[in-house]
């Protein structure tokens, strides 16, 4: 029977016949836990399984990215509990120096096209960017995966999203992604796998694909795939050893729940206004709103391309006095690239605060919080009330965040 991308990947990891709507057991190539969720996994494992073995220590890892290095005693304790468990069981730990776990899994080649991976990160479906079925799960699920290497999954229906037209040169992958958050909302692809087609998505480089696939969770989808060939890999592709491997494509005649066409012709920079990533308007409509801080980073916009886009906007200029610009590379590798290319110096000299790799502003503590009334413009993926502190958060592209920090108020990025 003709299968969609998600059906094909699950089929290659299951002994049962896979079709949308069926609940099947599937094998997991990678099971991971972070410094959030991880300590609960350790606790669950010790309580439920005691000395029983893990299905495969070589496929089981910890990644610390939330509070790196630990800024509270509780996090320090929790991270150490994971390290102790990992040492006793022979598991690899990508520690607080390494950056965002999902990105590290791609850089290390653990997550691969056509593979399956789970972790205690609701953005683990970002792995769809390289054609891997990644899924965020809670600590009960992950504990079971550590022990058995398997999980049950209800095979989702798929939606074909055809993106038509050519965005304006001012619009980046993030602007396209935010626009899709608006059009698809939290219902159009909810609980489904989305396959994106059309030149505007096929032409995205790997970092742009990461940006799009990182926000499928905000569209309430299971995962997003871009099956068309990666013709324009971009600098980040060099960081991912398996990124050139052909992605899994859907079979001709595969069944879709529906097909949605989205017209992005002439799309201008977009912005998600508080209180949700789906409250998206052209950034120009928010023009002039005074800001107190900016954040560039997160699994959505933490690659070298994102840092380069910000640096290009900043040029040799200084950010507006009184505005804090917090910059957090996704991984240590990105940090190194910033160092080698001089981007780090450009950002530093603009007045930006450049932190070590990790989740940054999306995690409580790592890159600071917003106080009551503090307006932040961020490249993150969520601006739910209270997510990054008490202040209102506007989501935008790295270029728009950089431009806004120069101006001290929201201003859409000009043409690069």
């Amino acid at each position: 029977m003709a299968q969609t991308v998600i059906e094909k990947i699950i089929q290659s990891h299951s002994r049962e016949e896979v079709a949308a709507g069926r609940i099947v057991w599937m094998d997991l190539d990678v099971r991971s836990a972070r410094d959030f969720g991880g300590p609960n996994v350790v606790k669950n494992f010790e309580r439920e399984y005691g000395p029983e073995p893990l299905a495969d220590p070589a496929k089981t890892v910890f990644t610390f990215d939330l509070c790196a290095p630990a800024c509270t005693l509780k996090y320090a304790d929790n991270q150490q509990a994971c390290r102790d468990f990992a040492r006793a069981r022979g598991l690899r730990v990508f520690d607080v120096d390494q950056g965002i776990g999902s990105h590290v899994l791609m850089e290390e080649g653990l997550a691969r096209p056509g593979g399956t991976a789970v972790g205690t990160d609701s953005h683990m479906n970002i792995l769809g960017a390289i054609g891997c079925f990644g899924q965020g799960m809670g600590d009960v699920d992950i504990t079971y995966a550590f022990r058995t290497g398997r999980t049950w999954f209800e095979v989702p229906e798929s939606v074909k999203v055809i993106v038509k037209g050519k965005p304006s040169p001012r619009a980046t992958a993030k602007d396209l992604t935010l626009y899709l958050c608006k059009v698809l909302g939290t219902s159009k692809i909810a609980l489904r796998s989305a396959e994106f087609y059309g030149p505007a998505v096929a032409s995205l480089d790997l970092s742009g694909r990461i940006t799009l696939c990182s926000m499928i969770t905000e569209m309430a989808g299971i995962i997003g795939f871009i099956p068309e060939e990666l013709r324009n890999p971009g600098p980040s592709a060099a960081d991912f050893p398996l990124a050139g491997t052909p992605a899994v494509g859907a079979d001709a005649g595969a069944a879709y729940a529906k097909t949605i066409e989205v017209d992005v012709d002439g799309l201008e920079p977009q912005m998600a206004l508080p209180p949700s990533p789906n409250t998206v308007r052209p950034a120009a409509e928010a023009d002039g709103i005074k800001i107190d801080s900016g954040f560039i980073g997160s699994c959505t916009n933490g690659r070298i391309e994102d840092m380069a886009a910000a640096a290009a906007v900043l040029g040799g200029r200084k950010i507006k006095p009184g505005v804090m610009l917090k910059v957090v590379p996704a991984t240590r590798r990105v940090y190194d690239e910033m160092l080698q290319t001089g981007i780090l110096k450009t950002l530093f000299e603009s007045g930006a605060i450049v932190l070590n790799p990790g989740c940054g502003g999306c995690a409580e503590g790592h890159a600071g919080l917003t106080g009551k009334g503090e307006v932040e413009v961020s490249t993150g993926n969520r601006n739910f009330p209270g997510k990054q502190g008490k202040g209102p958060v506007y989501l935008a592209s790295p270029a728009t965040v950089a431009a806004s920090c120069l101006a001290g108020e929201i201003i859409p990025a000009a043409e690069a």
């Binding site: 300590p39 509780k74 809670g138 939290t186 909810a190 949700s276 997510k387």
Partner: protein, 177 residues
């Protein structure tokens, strides 16, 4: 072995307009400031602690109460605490038109009943569902009843896996297939 017939007082997560609040995310249910907590017994005090109008929920909730929520309940992060905080308070089930995928799995796997019910939005909007009503739900058959208003409440029956895990107690107790 779980009880499949539940009877309890409901809390309807509605806004000032009486409509169910959609897209309640895990930071509103269990804020990331408390993510370091790993003891379930300590989680109850933070349930709905970042949801405007519901911050006193842990004080009001009693064991056996049933939560009625809006569409896409539990959006956002994968944190198990967003389920466990209700377990800690003794909430016996959640009924909502839909859930985020991860939230739904987390609840199923820990053996906490989460039930889908399409018609809840309308019932709430039309004033046929209020906090304090007593309802009865049968997880096996998908039949429910608002006892206070003597009206039926249509639920989706549980899937096979969900029933097996509920019967076993949790995913950990499920016989390995």
């Amino acid at each position: 072995m779980r009880e499949f017939l539940l009877h309890g007082r409901i809390w309807v997560l509605s806004g000032p307009d009486g409509r169910l609040i959609d897209d309640i995310d895990t930071d509103q249910i269990f804020h990331n400031a408390h993510l370091h907590i790993t003891e379930i017994s300590q989680m109850g005090a933070h349930a709905l602690g970042n949801l405007e109008g519901w911050k006193d929920f842990p004080k009001k909730a009693k064991p056996g109460d049933i939560l009625i929520a809006g569409r896409n309940f539990g959006a956002g992060s994968s944190r198990q605490q967003a389920v466990d905080c209700f377990v800690a308070l003794g909430v016996s089930a959640i009924v909502a038109p839909s859930y985020s995928a991860i939230y739904f799995r987390n609840a199923v796997n820990t053996g906490f009943p989460v039930v889908r019910a399409e018609g809840l939005d309308r019932a709430a909007a039309e004033g046929r569902l209020h906090s304090g009503d007593e309802i009865e739900i049968d997880l096996q058959t998908g039949r429910g009843r608002n006892l206070t208003r003597n009206e039926p409440l249509g639920l989706e029956p549980l899937s096979g896996v969900q029933r097996e895990i509920l019967e076993a107690g949790s995913l950990f107790r499920l016989k390995r297939s």
